[in-house]
Structures are given as structure tokens and as C-alpha cells.
Amino acid sequence: MLEIRNLHARVDDRDVLKGIDLSIGPGEVHAIMGPNGSGKSTLAYVLAGREGYEVTEGSIRYQGNDLLDLAIEERAREGVFLAFQYPVEIPGVTGTTFLRTAVNALRKHRGEKELDAMQFVKYVRKKQSELNISDDMLRRPVNVGFSGGEKKRNEILQMALLEPTFAVLDETDSGLDIDALKTVADGVNALRDPTRSMLVITHYQRLLDYIVPDYVHVLAGGRIIKSGGKELALELEKEGYGALTGAVAA
């Protein structure tokens, strides 16, 4: 489904990713853990296609195609979704308008009929209640004045509506208390599907108690230095990153 080969990437003239190899099969959930500055978020942005994140070497193949050839929106339309670590506030655009525009952009791409306002309300209502998202939240401008938990729930709602094939969750646990974390994790788990792969990026093992991965990779210094099953996360929690990287964990 996703094949990353020898990926090198540069941000602001600084080499951040220094040769990443990663294969993710259909329906698999992979976790990437690593200390601050190891390149976790850079990998997320490179996958989504953010400008300024320059791939200098290597390749990413997604469903048999070269992902790096696709524009940001083309990746989204082909089913790549990034849940942002810091969801962006968009003043003046209401949640409903934003979600409907996004859903319709994808439906149009797939040759499906676009949803009108009434149809969209029906479509969103069910997923909305599962994630404990109030109508009021959707009436407000996107993410403006939202708490950390509201922003992350809003990301997962977008994921639920856009039904991606490959989702990257970038530090979805950061800034969440335990209740919010459970809500978000339940939302993610409800979306686990044999045809949907996920890459869960986190600094802490805690999230992986709730979203249990099939594989865990440790990223340090721009490379994957160790891979294993879900027990690797527990090992890291006990030993710290320092034991693996030979340096003091950040």
C-alpha cells in the first residue's frame, strides 16, 4: 500500500530525514515513536506534501503510484489524510462549510454526486455524535477558539468523513487529557478497517494503549533505528529513548 524507500528530506536547508525505509500493508497500523527533533513531523508533512519540505533522495510509492508526483490536494483525493498535530484555525470559515467543501471535493473526484446542505447535515450527524462534537462547534469558524481536545476531535471527524485509505496521525495525543484521549482513540479505532492503513506518530507510549498498533518503529536522527511489534512501545516506555539512541532522551 505504502512503500517508503531511502527517503531523505530537507527543511530550511537542514537535512532532517536521512534514509527512511518503511512498508505499510493494507489495514495495518504502524506507530512511529521517537524523541523530539527526530523527524517525526517532517515525515508527516512530506507524506502530505507540504511546501518547503523538500525530498532530496528516495521515493514514496502509494498504491503503486509515485506519491511525490502528486500535489497536496491530489494526495488527499487519492485517500491520503493527515491529522495535524496543530490543527489550523481558519477564521471566517464555519466548520460545516469547510467539511462540506472538503467532502464534496473528494466526491467530485470520485465521480459521485456532491452533497447539498441538507444531505450533508444527515451525513455528518451520525459521525459527529460518535465523536462528541456539538452542532455549535460546527457552526463556529474552523478550530477558532477550540480547546486542544476539540481541535483533535475535529481532526478525527474530518478523517471519518473523508474516509481515507491511508491516514497519518501526527501527535494526535498531544495536549489531551485522559478523557479526551479516550474519545479520540475510540474515534480512530472505529475507523480501523482492512482496507485502511494508518501511521500513528507519537512521542509517548500512552496513546498506543488505546490505539494498539501492529508494528512500532523508533525514529531517531532521521532514521528508523529499530522496528518491532507492539511490545516495543512498552520497552521504550521502560528504558527510554536513550537506551536505544545512545543519547539522553529529549
Binding site: A48, G49, R50, E51, A71, I72, E73, R75, A76, R77, F81, L82, F84, P87, V88, I90, P91, G92, V93, F98, T101, A102, A105, L106, H109, P141, Q158, L162
Partner: protein, 447 residues
């Protein structure tokens, strides 16, 4: 460089010949103010950028164009007005002025309730001369206003709206000014709104142009608001790409009188909309909002002057602009508070979005406060589209153009959404959407 730009407009030399065909010809008092104004214009000429109020708007190109005045009988044919009107339902009240003349054929005034006169200046001078005269005389005597003087000298048919005390009309009165000429032509419409005590009226004014030629629209509008009256005045400046639009609106408000204006300035190669509001009565209220959209090499200028001269008045202004390509915007907003105007509230905000590195905005807020018990504020901001917001939208499947449009719409929405008149708001949104998708309603009509 001189403070004046001398001009050689052919029509100015033909005053004697032309004035015989202008509204009110033969009225001695009107003839007198026309001649005085002509002398004043000849003395003042056009202001150069050395004049502070014109520092950012250069009239050299206008001065070089050989503008004339066409015969009053020239009526445009085959103009489709259906896309220009604001009314979608309900009764239509529409006056159309084409190339400086009232077009009875294109107008549909409809039926007005008792106590409302909506007519053209030429007729008003005949039927309501005593009412019109003091207003025309008063502002025509103002010094230092060359464009006002030129308009007065050649004043052409515009609208006259008189609302009696206590009379209200909720349906908008549509006032459409059309230019369609084959040679460089100037028009100088003169408009007058007089709202009686406690009356209410909504006016929707549109300026458009067709035809291959350059033209110059130089309208002057006087608005007189009696105590507790409310005048709502929407204006759409959608002149053709060959046009110069220099408009001057002067408003006086009596006690608890209210003037609510919304301006969209999106047409013309060079546009300047000047609005001057004098809050003369206690507790008067004024709200001026608007948007300016420009691209290519368009120049768009909004200049407002709000004078608080009585206590307890309030004024609010929000102007937002979107500038693309090599366009240039100017916002000059002056708010003055006299020593007597205690308890004044005056707020002003100007925000501009620059879509291109070559676009430019000059924004100049000016507060002159001589009273001590006032609440006044002003703000100006210039920005670009946020890269992170664009990325976020695109990462959800919106293409780059759509993402830009969503963000520009959101920027403008703050000033458009509060508009209470739904039909006007819908019309405005359609025009904005057309502009964003690189067309304009006007181009679609003429195609």
C-alpha cells in the same frame, strides 16, 4: 510640480452651448451656480498629487484624455438590465440613467406609497424646485472642491428622492447609471436624497459601463437626513475597465438621524469614492462599510471624512480590500470630533489582503479629536493569504484556487455577512464569486 493639473477637456469650453441642454436650463438661480462653479473649476483645475488629499491618486491619465459630453438624446440600445438589478422578488422601483440622461424607456419606477417622490433631477427642478434649490445651492458653494465644482457646472440628470416625515419604504429603490459610448465621454450626474423626520428608505445604486470607449463618471450625491430618519444606501461601482469613476457623496445627519452605507468598488481603471458625513445633530449615527476588489492595473481609492460636531454621535467604518496583480488601493479615513461633540463613539477599521507581490495599498487613518469624553479607535492591517491555512485546506482535497477563494471569501465575509438586506447581500455575494472566478457580472452581460 504644481498643485494643479491643467486640463483641456473640450466640453469645458463648450459650456454655453451645452448648458442649454442640461437640466433646469433657463432657471436663473441654477444658471448662476453653474457659471460660478465653472469659474471655480477653471481656477482650481484638477488636483495633483502634491495636494495631500490626492497624494496617492494621480489624475494625470484622466487629464490627458479628451473627454467630451455627448448629446442628451443619446440613449443606449440593447442593454440587458436583468442581471444588474438587486430585486429578486417584490415590487421593482428602478430608475435608469444612461450617458447622463434619464432613460424613461429603461426605467420602471413602479408605484410608491403616498409621501415619497422618486424622480429625476430635471423633473424635480420643475415640480419641486423650491425643495431642491437650497440643497443644490448649499453644497455648490463649497470651496476647494474642483470635481464638485465641475459636476455642478455641468450637472446632469440624476435621481431625486424625497421622503416625507414618517414615511417608510422597505423595498429598495434601484438607481442604475449606465455608460455606453464610442468616444471619450464624461457624465456628471447630480443626485439628491432628502429624508424627512422619522422616515426610512433603502437605496441601491449601481454604476456600470459598456462600449469600447473610455469614459469618466463624476457623480455627486447629497444626502440630507432629518431627525430620527434612516437612509440605507448601497452602492455598486462596477464601471468598465476603461472608466474613471470619481464619486462624491455628502451626507448631513440631524439629531438621531442615521446613515447606513455599503460600498463595493470593483470596476473602473481608476476609481475614487469619497464619502463625507457630517453628524450635526445630537445622537446621530453613521455606519460606512465596504469592500474594494482590484486586479490588473486598477487603482481604487476610498476616502471618507466623518465629522462629529454634536454630542452623543456614533460612527463605525469597516472597509476591506482584496488586491491582485499590479493593482493599487488607497484608503483614507478621517474622523474628526469637535470640542462640543462629547460622548462620541468613532470606530474605523481597514484591512487589505494582497494577493500579489506587485499589489500595493496606502492606508491612512486620521483621527482629530478635540473633545475629551470620547471612545474612538482605528485600525489598519495589511496581509497575505496564510500559507498554513492554504496547506490545511488543500490537504483536505481543495485545489489551490478553491482554497484561495475560500480564504478570500472568509476575509470578506466579516463585512458582507452583517448586511441586513438579504437581496442585496445575495447580489453582492454573486458579484464577489464572479470576481473571484475571474469574470464579472458585467462581462457576462455584455458577452
Amino acid at each position: 510640480m504644481s498643485r494643479q493639473i491643467t486640463t483641456e477637456f473640450p466640453f469645458v469650453d463648450r459650456f454655453d452651448e451645452l448648458s442649454a441642454g442640461l437640466p433646469g436650463a433657463g432657471l436663473d438661480w441654477l444658471d448662476k451656480i453653474r457659471r460660478e462653479s465653472l469659474d471655480r473649476f477653471n481656477r482650481l483645475a484638477l488636483p495633483s498629487t502634491r495636494v495631500e488629499a490626492w497624494k496617492y491618486t494621480n489624475l494625470n491619465e484622466l487629464a490627458k484624455t479628451p473627454f467630451d459630453i455627448v448629446g442628451t438624446s443619446a440613449e443606449p440600445t440593447s442593454i440587458d438590465l436583468s442581471a444588474l438589478g438587486v430585486s429578486r422578488s417584490g415590487p421593482v422601483h428602478r430608475l435608469v440613467f444612461a450617458n447622463g440622461s434619464y432613460s424613461a424607456a429603461l426605467s420602471d419606477a413602479g408605484k410608491f406609497p403616498e409621501g415619497i417622490v422618486v424622480t429625476n433631477l430635471a423633473d424635480a427642478l420643475t415640480t419641486h424646485g423650491d425643495l431642491v434649490r437650497p440643497h443644490l445651492e448649499r453644497i455648490s458653494a463649497l470651496e476647494g472642491q474642483p470635481l464638485l465644482a465641475l459636476n455642478t457646472a455641468f450637472m446632469m440628470n440624476g435621481y431625486v428622492v424625497v421622503v416625507d416625515d414618517g414615511v417608510c419604504l422597505e423595498d429598495p429603490v434601484e438607481l442604475i447609471f449606465v455608460s455606453d459610448t464610442a468616444t471619450p465621454t464624461s457624465v456628471h450626474p447630480r443626485n439628491l436624497i432628502v429624508a424627512g423626520t422619522g422616515s426610512r428608505i433603502v437605496l441601491s445604486e449601481t454604476h456600470v459601463g459598456y462600449g469600447p470607449s473610455e469614459y469618466w463618471s463624476n457623480p455627486v450625491t447629497e444626502v440630507v437626513v432629518a431627525p430620527e430618519a434612516t437612509v440605507t444606501h448601497h452602492k455598486i461601482q462596477q464601471e468598465s475597465a476603461n472608466a474613471f469613476h470619481l464619486a462624491n457623496t455628502r451626507v448631513t445627519l440631524a439629531g438621531k438621524g442615521s446613515y447606513r452605507a455599503f460600498l463595493i468598488s470593483m470596476g473602473a481603471r481608476l476609481a475614487r469614492c469619497e464619502i463625507e458625513v457630517s453628524l450635526e445633530g445630537e445622537g446621530a449615527d453613521c455606519q460606512l462599510d465596504g469592500i474594494y476588489l482590484a486586479r490588473d492595473k486598477q487603482h481604487t481609492d476610498i476616502t471618507t471624512r466623518i465629522a462629529h460636531t454634536s454630542p452623543g454621535g456614533s460612527s463605525r467604518q469597516v472597509f476591506k480590500g482584496v488586491l491582485d496583480d499590479h493593482s493599487r488601493g488607497v484608503f483614507q479615513g478621517q474622523v474628526s470630533v469637535s470640542p462640543d461633540a462629547q460622548r462620541t463613539e468613532g470606530h474605523q477599521l481597514n484591512k487589505t489582503l494582497l494577493l500579489s507581490d506587485d499589489a500595493e495599498i496606502d492606508t491612512k487613518p486620521e483621527l482629530e479629536i478635540y473633545a475629551d469624553d470620547v471612545k474612538c479607535s482605528h485600525g489598519a492591517a495589511v496581509g497575505q493569504l496564510d500559507e498554513m491555512e492554504l496547506f490545511y485546506l488543500r490537504s483536505r482535497g481543495l485545489d489551490a484556487d478553491s482554497a484561495r477563494q475560500v480564504l478570500i471569501r472568509a476575509f470578506i465575509a466579516e463585512v458582507v455577512e452583517p448586511i441586513e438586506e438579504g437581496q442585496f447581500r445575495d447580489h453582492l455575494n454573486e458579484m464577489i464569486d464572479a470576481w473571484l472566478s475571474h469574470g464579472s457580472v458585467f462581462e457576462e452581460v455584455s458577452a
